[in-house]
Symmetry: C2
Subunit: 699 residues, 2 copies
């Protein structure tokens, strides 16, 4: 078979790349050896589940029922789970083989489950339980959210009441709103769970005393027979926009008995007499979720990069339309050459890189926090928490919005599940509300900023080493110092503004009410702060790479352009959130807007030949993209038609002479004969019909 | 059974509504009698398909396979289709019983099919074909898009070559990219289609001459047996994010013969000798699609209002968390009271109203255009086209973005399909790329604006009657004249800026290249223009209602507040597209930003008690929302749990002792015993694990 025109266009595009792609891959994936180990892991898993053969319609597009998607998830889940244990790696601790957040695998809550036990169990409990987890015998869930309560866990209602007689806790769901709802793997896959419930201890008089929410190890179902623990009603919560490979579940407890020693006792303990002892620092409780939060930005970067990879490849091979004023009869152009497409794809890609570099900073801060914690040093907790909260909110907002735009860049084809894009977008979108709703998280960052501003007079100075750069005269738009000063001025202006408005509101209302009134300004301040930190981290990373002297010289200029594009396009991008505040807080910016538009146009033109190289560098396998229009070879139309013919609905019809079984039961009843039945000619209904009232009515 | 707390909260919310809801319903739905007729139609259809009983899990959440969703679509499709014919109304010409674009029904392309024949067929053809359509005997599709070509139809490849010997056209798919792909109902439901294909006529020497794209009536399958026309390969294109009730299809033609008289001959004709005659104005060809485009904004308004209805109801009954600085032990608050939630819901709702009022203007312009067209007056075509293109792009962008945000307002629950929100958002999102991709449409509006600017010196003056309002001094922010002047200045500034940049680019490049370079500025100008027109139409509608003197006096102040909220919040809303241009083009605005923030805060506080009233007024039935968390009674948690228990995956497990059949085949293989197998203790993998290297390793 000869190559299609699309494959030829893709080859031509690759010939234009200016830099060493492997070098960039190794930067993204933390070095050549780790990049290779990842590649090997993906290859093994894709072989195991049969997705390596991309001429076959991927399993998730075959049986698309709730049940079928779960079954597909189990196959993939077993493969990545056993691979990570057998080959001793953590690649699937944060993402599935398709780069969705690992929570979307039926073996995906193990990371949180394990972390909770590592952080919150007593030494003795760890010694007894962790081997079952590290060895893969237990599949664990993390059971926090209830129907009526989410990440704000202090009001959870599930009760664990201690019974001294039997030395057991009685786990119970007292109301409908106390129903556990959402925990991953809970429906039908998890053998165990760490569950959050209110610890209730009877006092000397026998009255119940509520000690607040604590963690307990709960056996959910027998790991051999699958039988559910007596007293537990458990099930799946149904289809979601994505994450359907996982059985997010619900559970209702009817006086379920678990041993006293199932309470996680690293921080607090209850003895056989029902006495409560607090062991360590109270803040530790939050850490399971915040440690998870630390890898969410990287997942956002990966999924956004996936979406841009698919959209860029399709845009290179898709030829459609002309520019205005083109010569009559001119050939259609590759849609990547439309400036709007060029702008949308490259700015989205610059954000994926920005999030990726910033995520490495967030992970480093988290690792540092964990080391300190093991020495009972909590001094960096507040900053780390504020950073992680804001970064999670920002990265997920930006990635979800940009990935959806990349999907739209593919027009109708982007609306097909077989393009791979809908699932990427939908799975990414979940990150905006899971593990802490973004609007709640923004406020945590804002709280930290206002507190710091109050105590230090400036909330940015601790994170800024450079001296203030004058923004007078004609600046060098491409210089990091200019860009950072601009973002810093804006961030400082936003937090100052929010603080002023807060103070003013405080004059006439309570602190709570004032906070509420100025909430939108506070969120804006948090966002501007995070964007400054992200830009700072992007430039730091580029400078650090440059300083090593070991990075291919072809890569650095491309990364610098990409970082400048991120910084400058965000100012003038129509879709930028809070764009107004750039002009509001950077005095001279209004004079430079047209210059910035020109610089951005130049950057876009210079980077365009590298678009495919910059997406290839993420090293996504075709199987992981699962996209008929985004495969490496560019052969989108042949692949799409090939996959379409394999859809079960079409296979079923072909086996039935081309007729869908619903024709007689479903279509035929709608084909009326009201012309005859009505004994005359029906009038065409309604106002949308042009010819409804005169000459085209029959009798 | 006693009412739940959530039902009580919802009743309390309704008690606070300040205005006459029925009066507003009648405004939205074009008068009391039409509002009642709609209500009756919905009631009949919901009875017919059994969705009126909302205690039963809706059908679309039961069999969620590709095949099951199509089957569900057929049931609903037959019901709305026969209802509209038997009761002679047009309510289901634009939307399904769930308010999705009618294209998402397997009987949903009839509107376009019929319109094409009404507008493009000859008198004789109309007399012969339209009775079959009005009488409901044919289910028609509109077959334009191909794998390689979308709405830009001039390069379509499907050929219809005339054979004089048999007086037939030979319909053929010459390449893979010529495969018809996407047409609604084509897969398995349509009996006929209007198909776009290149008309090819042999000249005197026998050489083929290409006359460009024309329309043909194509019988697809037998309306009694379902048998597919010989030579046609046809099928479904698979699952999409929504619109799965419809069988968007593909078709490949292998020399299919259709009669010469199947060519639609209202505008051009081919006689038996193969002679081609042009009958009428060339622009008419576009009109099927543009006439469809005229009702898309209303669909956007309806679906956005649906999303906000669900999110508002949930936000009233959901109690979660506290404001910072709250008293210890305080009860949780209804999330609607968080300012961010208040802001997001009410600004989204103000957009739904804005789009709705503007859509009435667009439809009026279209009706006027059709009347003129019947008199061969095409003088308003360019303006009408530019308006419809821009309005479709703006309404779908805004509605999709805001509906997605409303979905996020519901946190995790908004990510459940049973919340109804994912389908609303996904089905709305399709409108951004269907019937003309938004980025292509923006440019059409921009083209009109630059042309008008060139010929008249101002592109806005024709649509503006009011004199210029001075923006000096402290303005009355709530006055329509102030707001309109502000939007007009911004729109005029944007188009002037784009034109200047275009002229400058023209100096160094071709007109095509210059257009491409400045595309983003041109799109910004088009958007600003449309937003000005929308605000104008919102205020016009309010003033017209006021002038009648017949509208309940309680309604007008609420609508005025909503319009002011739309105008003012759009300036300072962090999510506003192109917000920067307000400050860039309205000189004094920087001085007023804080005042505007204060006014918006006041409007939000005043409108908050009316939120439920303003969403109830759209008169969506519970069945049409299909939302466990958005029903009128507010009983979200009981309903959600009730529906969840009815999910087939849970019914199946209950019948099997609580064990999912996949447990043994899918879960069990992942539960390893590598602890023993490895002859020792496995090391916990990877860098994310805190205790991986020291005291918590066993031996």
């Amino acid at each position: 078979m000869t190559d299609s025109r699309q494959m030829m266009l893709m080859r031509q595009a690759r010939e234009r790349i200016s830099f060493d792609g492997d070098a960039l891959t190794n930067i993204i994936h933390d070095g050549a050896s780790r990049a290779q180990a990842r590649r090997d892991a993906w290859r093994r898993v894709e072989q195991a589940i049969g997705t390596a053969d991309t001429s076959t319609l991927p399993a998730q597009y075959r049986d698309t029922s709730r049940e079928g998607l779960y079954e597909e998830g189990l196959q993939s889940g077993v493969a990545h789970w056993t691979d990570s244990i057998r080959h001793n790696h953590d690649f699937f601790d944060s993402v599935t083989p398709r780069y969705a957040l690992i929570n979307s695998s039926p073996f995906g809550l193990n990371t949180m489950f394990r972390k909770a036990i590592e952080l919150q169990a007593s030494d003795e409990q760890r010694k007894s339980w962790l081997p079952m987890i590290y060895g893969g015998r237990w599949n664990g869930s993390y059971i926090q959210t209830e129907l009526g309560h989410g990440t704000k866990f202090t009001h959870l209602e599930t009760r664990a009441r201690y019974h001294r007689e039997s030395d057991e806790f009685d786990l119970h769901t007292p109301t409908t709103t106390a129903t556990k709802f959402w925990p991953g793997c809970l429906g039908y896959s998890a053998t165990h769970g760490v569950i959050m419930a209110r610890l209730v201890l009877p006092d000397e008089t026998g009255s119940d005393v509520d000690y607040g929410v604590h963690l307990f190890l709960l056996p959910i179902r027998d790991d051999t027979t699958g039988e559910v623990t007596p007293g537990v009603e458990v099930g799946d919560i149904g289809l979601k926009p994505a994450h359907n490979q996982n059985d997010n579940g619900y559970a209702i407890f009817n006086h379920v008995r678990i041993s006293r020693t199932n309470m996680l006792m690293g921080e607090h303990s209850v003895d056989a007499q029902g006495n409560y002892t607090k062991v360590a620092h109270a803040k530790a409780m939050h850490q399971t979720m915040t440690s998870i939060r630390s890898y969410l930005p990287l997942v956002c970067a990966l999924q956004l990069a996936q979406a841009v990879t698919i959209a860029s490849r399709y845009s290179v091979v898709r030829e459609q339309g002309h520019l205005p004023f083109s010569e009559r009869g001119a050939a259609e152009i590759q849609i990547v050459n439309y400036k709007s497409q060029n702008f949308r794809l490259l700015t989205a890609l610059s954000k994926a890189y920005a999030i990726m570099f910033a995520s490495k900073h967030v992970e480093a801060v988290q690792r540092d926090l964990e080391v300190r914690r093991s020495m009972l040093d909590f001094s960096t907790f507040d900053y780390s928490h504020a950073l992680q909260a804001g970064m999670k909110a920002w990265a997920s907002d930006v990635a979800a919005q940009s990935a959806e735009d990349a999907r739209k860049c593919c027009g109708g084809q982007g609306y097909l599940n077989t393009s791979g894009l809908p699932e990427i977008v939908a799975s990414l979108t979940a990150i905006c509300t899971l593990e802490g709703d973004n609007y709640a998280l923004w406020q945590q960052t804002a709280g930290y900023l206002t507190k710091t501003l109050q105590s230090r007079g400036s909330s940015l100075e601790t994170e800024v080493q450079e001296e203030e750069v004058s923004l007078k005269g004609t600046p060098d738009f491409l210089s990091p110092r200019f860009q950072l000063s601009l973002y810093r001025q804006r961030a400082a202006g936003c937090i100052k503004k929010a603080a002023e408005r807060l103070s003013k509101a405080n004059l006439t209302s309570t602190r709570s009410e004032a906070w509420n009134t100025e909430m939108m300004s506070l969120i804006t301040a948090a966002r501007a702060h995070v964007e400054y930190v992200v830009l700072q981290q992007f430039w730091s990373a580029v400078e650090a790479l440059s300083a090593t002297g070991q990075v291919s010289s072809s890569v650095l200029p491309v990364l610098k352009r990409l970082c400048s594009l991120f910084a400058l396009s965000s100012i003038i991008n129509p879709s930028t959130t809070d764009a107004l505040t750039f002009l509001e807080h950077v005095p001279n910016l209004a004079l430079w807007l047209d210059d910035i538009r020109d610089v951005v146009n130049d950057l876009l033109a210079t980077l365009l030949p590298d678009l495919i190289g910059l997406t290839d560098a993420w090293d996504f396998s075709d199987a992981s993209l699962a996209s008929a229009i985004g495969m490496r070879d560019g052969n989108c139309y042949e692949t799409l038609l090939n996959w379409t013919r394999q859809l079960p609905i079409n296979v079923r019809a072909r086996a039935n002479g081309g007729i869908d079984p619903n024709f007689h039961s479903g279509v035929r009843p709608g084909l009326l004969d009201d012309l005859d039945a009505a004994g005359g000619v029906p009038t065409p209904p309604g106002s949308l019909h042009l010819f409804s009232d005169s000459k085209y009515r029959w009798k």
